[in-house]
């Protein structure tokens, strides 16, 4: 009943007092009978699982989206979502992994391949025929919001290319871009670099690879462990040097901070150094602000901005730092979404059998956006949530760092590129 990382999470099942608050707030249970609820698949089912059992007794845990509403509302601190992630890993270990999940778990490999000919890759991925095929053959939902590969080169290319323009400074910050920024949305990285430099930081982009989260959420723990230890090896020297490592992907930073160490039993010194040096970029900016170090030379921006804090913030447990900072920008009327989840939940909403559940879960958010009137943009920190948000609302969505960069006059929100001074 305890998987290998029992010590960090397992004992928390003992805290459950069966009160079912988690089930009452679970956005997935609310829309489908296929998921009997966090308490049932979490601390309750866990008492019926063991190592070396004849076979995995349960399967409905696979419908947990990992949004962590349960962790947040639990009055006793049960790490329900983590228990579920482990249970899923055990099912994977037993049943093997479908090709679909193998693919969804390998963002980085896909990105690298696509960059050989990104336009062709987009064309072949984004036409209706191939989407139907992908659904039939692999179970990737045909309507799910697959991202488009960057056709103007990767973030890495840009950073290399503009090396001579980059700010040199005694104050340095390390940037973890993650796969989405690298291959799909290099402009998010550009905005981040612009904001950091504007505040006087020299940006270091060290060699790095996928954080491993897509693998973790599909239960491929062994593979994820390799990714994680690569990242530790590549980046711990910066942590040791006392530099902060900031990331724009809330899921990547979460993985470096907590998910990977906890799920993979990576409690070694290097993992810990990386963990303690890693920040979500807005968590970090808020610290700068509270220390009086953040530049607030914002331009006034007249806009109503529905903002949805992604589920990963729930796991970061740092509140809503992007909201705190966006509210500093004059003219921006930030409307905070209280929707529980957009429904995509990483790779969850891409799976054919879960696509509709994801859309039903997201309805709360889509309705919220609709209620805000005719807005031009929405904002959300996580890339997959933004894609889902765009898919569910037909409105463009931006990373808050893009908004902030724009407020500094460094970024063009429509063209999604840094302003060349």
């Amino acid at each position: 009943m305890h998987t290998k990382s029992w010590h960090s999470v397992g004992p928390s099942l003992d805290a459950c007092i069966k009160c079912n608050i988690c089930t009452s707030y679970c956005p997935v249970t609310a829309v489908t009978d296929l998921f009997p609820g966090p308490k049932y698949v979490g601390p309750q089912a866990q008492r019926f699982r063991e190592n070396g059992q004849p076979h995995s007794p349960d399967h409905s845990v696979d419908y947990c989206s990992g949004c962590r509403v349960c962790n947040e509302v639990c009055p006793t601190g049960v790490k329900i979502a983590e228990l579920n992630a482990r249970a899923r890993a055990q099912i994977v270990a037993e049943n093997g992994l479908p090709l679909r999940n193998r693919l969804l778990g390998r963002n980085e490999t896909l990105g690298k391949l696509a960059q050989i000919a990104p336009r062709l890759a987009n064309l072949s991925l984004h036409n209706p025929v191939s989407r139907v095929l992908a659904e039939k053959v692999m179970g990737i939902a045909r309507h799910a919001p697959l991202p488009r590969f960057s056709e103007s080169g990767t973030f890495g290319d840009w950073f290399q290319r503009t090396q001579h323009e980059r700010l040199k400074s005694d104050k340095k910050a390390v940037y973890f871009h993650g796969c989405a920024t690298m291959y799909y949305e290099p402009f998010v990285g550009k905005a981040a670099v612009a904001v950091l430099e504007h505040n006087g930081y020299e940006v270091i982009v060290p060699p790095q690879n996928c954080c491993g989260l897509p693998l973790l959420s599909n239960g491929e723990f062994d593979e994820a462990a390799k990714y994680h230890s690569n990242n530790v090896n590549k980046m711990r020297i910066y942590a040791q040097a006392g530099l902060d490592i900031v990331g724009t992907s809330t899921s990547c930073t979460l993985t470096l901070k907590e998910e990977a160490p906890e799920l993979l039993d990576a409690f070694d010194e290097g993992s810990n150094q990386l963990k303690m040096a890693t920040w979500d970029i807005f968590e970090w900016l808020r610290e700068r602000y509270e220390a009086g170090e953040l530049k607030t030379d914002f331009r006034r921006m007249e806009m109503v901005l529905p903002y949805h804090a992604p589920c990963q913030y729930r796991a970061h447990r740092v509140g809503k730092p992007a909201l705190d900072i966006l509210r500093l920008i004059p003219g921006v009327d930030v409307r905070e979404s209280h929707a529980r989840c957009c429904g995509i939940a990483g790779t969850y909403g891409y799976k054919a059998e879960k696509y509709q559940i994801g859309m039903d879960v997201g309805a709360e958010l889509f309705d919220f956006v609709a209620e805000q009137g005719d807005v031009a943009l929405t904002a959300c920190d996580s890339e997959t949530c933004r894609w889902q948000l765009e898919h569910g609302t037909d409105k463009p969505s931006r990373h808050p760092i893009e908004i902030l960069a724009a407020a500094y006059g460094l970024y063009e929100l429509n063209g999604r590129d840094v302003v060349h001074s």
Binding site: M1, H2, K4, W6, G10, P11, L13, D14, A15, C16, I17, K18, C19, P36, K39, Y40, Q44, A45, Q46, R47, F48, R49, E50, N51, G52, Q53, P54, H55, S56, P57, D58, H59, S60, T76
Partner: protein, 578 residues
């Protein structure tokens, strides 16, 4: 006319031994009546850690007993397969266990024929990651984890099918002695208040810890040393293998995975009476301290419950108690010993050897009745054994496969509504505690917090529908605990003539059922209430006081036959010797 029953053999006691005597005797063609003062397994059978011994524990000290264990272990794995989880067992050497005991242990196992293999500590830790990493040696033996509730039901079921009558809630008030011969017993039906006589050619006293009291009714002194053993259950499995300390048996040296929990036991304390059994603070602390030696951090885990059972240790003359008294079975021929014919006592022994004890007793019955009928139990699986051993996940698996989530009444232990209803029909039910023994109702973390109310509501609905009554045809214990095999409520034959075994009384007051079970659960949690379990208890209080106002319901004056047993003071006291 005064009611009476005539039978060949009257068995007193509805524990493992008594049910096995009934089974064995009815298989040999005797007409059998078994009486039990409360529910099956309410005595020691339902209050131990559930260890199916390989014999390893007794190999050094009591080779004869150990030999009996391994022999019976092999038999029960066939005859009662579905009542056993094949966990295997480890004997582990901790840093505190010094000396040559491990080598003597291994040699003794080899000598007796107990399969025993030393395995690398690393391998043991791989299989049981929470074990103390400082173990120096580990031996693997064929221990197992037994469901003694299900086993007794299965045995009783087998006996019933072979013609025996099983009368629960029938208390022996006196033995009928005629001219130095026990010819039966006066019996009081505690459910109906009826009293009647059972006449029998032979009476077998299998009353466990109450053996001495029964024998005294025939003017016979049987010196039983009730030795209390206290156990505590940890909220989750902790280990999936039985863990024994590799040393001479002592307090707190066994950790048994039992369904969803792990049980650490036991103490050994001489007590005057089999009931009530107070759990002392030092016993709890001792179990936790010893548990920590097997699984570091065990004492910090959530403890669900504590309970105590009595070993019915027999000694010819008193020389000392506890672990030094033999654990061998004791068959007392009272005709030979005291000149009282028609009366045998079978006692001592261990749960693992219950079948053997019955065999010995019924052999003696045959001898007394001068018939030759060989024992058949060793080769006759009880109904349900064909399912094979159970595994921890079976309930969850069945609930998942058949989508029974919405049927769950006891969510902690995955008890469905139909399991509950059918258990009522399968077995006389006067308290929810009876259902706890039958289907594990209320045995999980919330200790009845949610399911007490639900079960009371359901039993009340059954009563309103006229469906609250046991039915002899429904007495199928094979699937008692299976969510998947209890999809539908059993239909009850309402026109059946009343069987003595099935109390034809009004169903218990729902308010009494509720109060009784809340107090019954309280008795077992009060000794271990701190930390997370204390918070759970407070939530349970909120439910039954703030929300339900259950302390202001009608029927406050009613009691059940078990109310007194639930009501002794189980709260922690200052240790007298502290």
């Amino acid at each position: 006319m005064t009611k009476h029953l005539d039978t060949n053999i009257l068995v007193i006691g509805g524990g493992a031994t008594g049910t096995a005597v009934a089974w064995d005797a009815s298989l040999r063609g005797f007409k059998v009546v078994l009486v039990e003062r409360r529910d099956l397994t309410q005595g020691t059978t339902g209050r131990f850690h559930g260890l199916l011994h390989s014999g390893g524990r007794y190999a050094v000290k009591d080779p004869h007993g150990a030999r009996e264990c391994i022999q019976e272990n092999r038999i029960l794995r066939r005859t009662h397969a579905h009542c056993i989880e094949d966990t295997g067992g480890f004997f582990v050497v901790t840093p505190e266990d010094e000396g040559d005991y491990p080598d003597r242990f291994k040699a003794a196992c080899d000598e007796i024929g107990i399969p025993c293999a030393e395995i690398p500590v690393r391998e043991a830790l791989r299989r049981e990651p929470l074990l103390n990493p400082r173990l120096s040696r580990v031996f693997e033996v064929p221990d197992g984890s037994a469901d003694s509730f299900l086993a007794a039901h299965a045995t009783a079921d087998a006996a019933r099918r072979a013609g025996a009558q099983i009368l629960t809630y029938h208390e022996v008030t006196n033995l009928i002695v005629d001219n130095q011969r026990v010819v039966g017993a006066q019996v009081y039906n505690v459910a109906t208040g009826e009293t009647f006589a059972i006449h029998a050619a032979m009476t077998v006293n299998a009353a466990g810890a109450w053996t001495g009291k029964i024998a005294a009714m025939a003017g016979i002194e049987v010196l039983i040393l009730p030795s209390k053993g206290t156990m505590i259950a940890v909220n989750h499995r902790v280990v999936n293998t039985v863990i024994n300390r590799c040393k001479l048996p002592a307090d707190g040296d066994i950790l048994v995975p039992s369904h969803t929990v792990a049980v650490i036991g036991t103490t050994s304390v001489e007590v005057a009476d089999p009931e009530p059994l107070r759990i002392e603070t030092w016993e709890v602390e001792k179990m936790l301290a010893e548990g920590n030696k097997l699984v570091p951090g065990l004492s910090q885990m959530r403890i669900l419950r504590a309970w105590a059972g009595v070993r019915p240790l027999f000694q010819e003359t008193y020389t000392g108690g506890g672990r030094d008294v033999t654990r061998k079975l004791a068959l007392l021929d009272h005709e030979a010993r005291e000149g009282v014919a028609g009366f045998l006592t079978i006692t001592g022994g261990k749960w693992t050897t219950f079948r053997l004890m019955a065999e010995a007793a019924v052999d003696k019955v045959c001898e007394k009745l001068e018939v030759k009928r060989p024992c058949r139990t060793a080769d006759t699986p009880v109904p349900g054994a064909e399912q094979g051993h159970y595994w921890l996940g079976h309930r969850l698996h069945e609930v998942e496969e058949q989508h029974l989530q919405s049927e769950l009444i006891c969510e902690c232990e995955l008890v469905t509504r139909a399991m509950l209803e059918n258990a009522v029909k399968r077995n006389p039910t006067l308290t929810l505690d009876d259902l706890r023994r039958d289907v594990r109702l209320g045995k999980g973390p919330c200790q009845g917090g949610f399911c007490t109310y639900r079960a009371v509501g359901i039993l009340h609905e059954m009563a309103q529908a006229g469906a609250y009554r046991p039915d002899a045809d429904a007495w199928d214990a094979a699937f008692l605990q299976s969510p998947g095999k209890n999809r539908e409520p059993l239909s009850v034959n309402r026109d059946r003539n009343t069987d003595y075994s099935l109390p034809n009384t009004a169903p218990p007051s729902p308010n009494l059922l509720l109060r009784d079970f809340l107090q019954e659960r309280w008795k077992g949690i009060a000794p271990i209430l701190w930390g997370k379990q204390l918070r759970q208890e407070r939530l349970d209080e909120l439910i039954y006081l703030s929300l339900m106002n259950a302390d202001h319901l009608p029927d406050a004056e009613l009691t059940s036959p078990s109310s007194d047993f639930y009501h002794y003071d189980a709260t922690p006291q200052e240790d007298a010797n502290a």
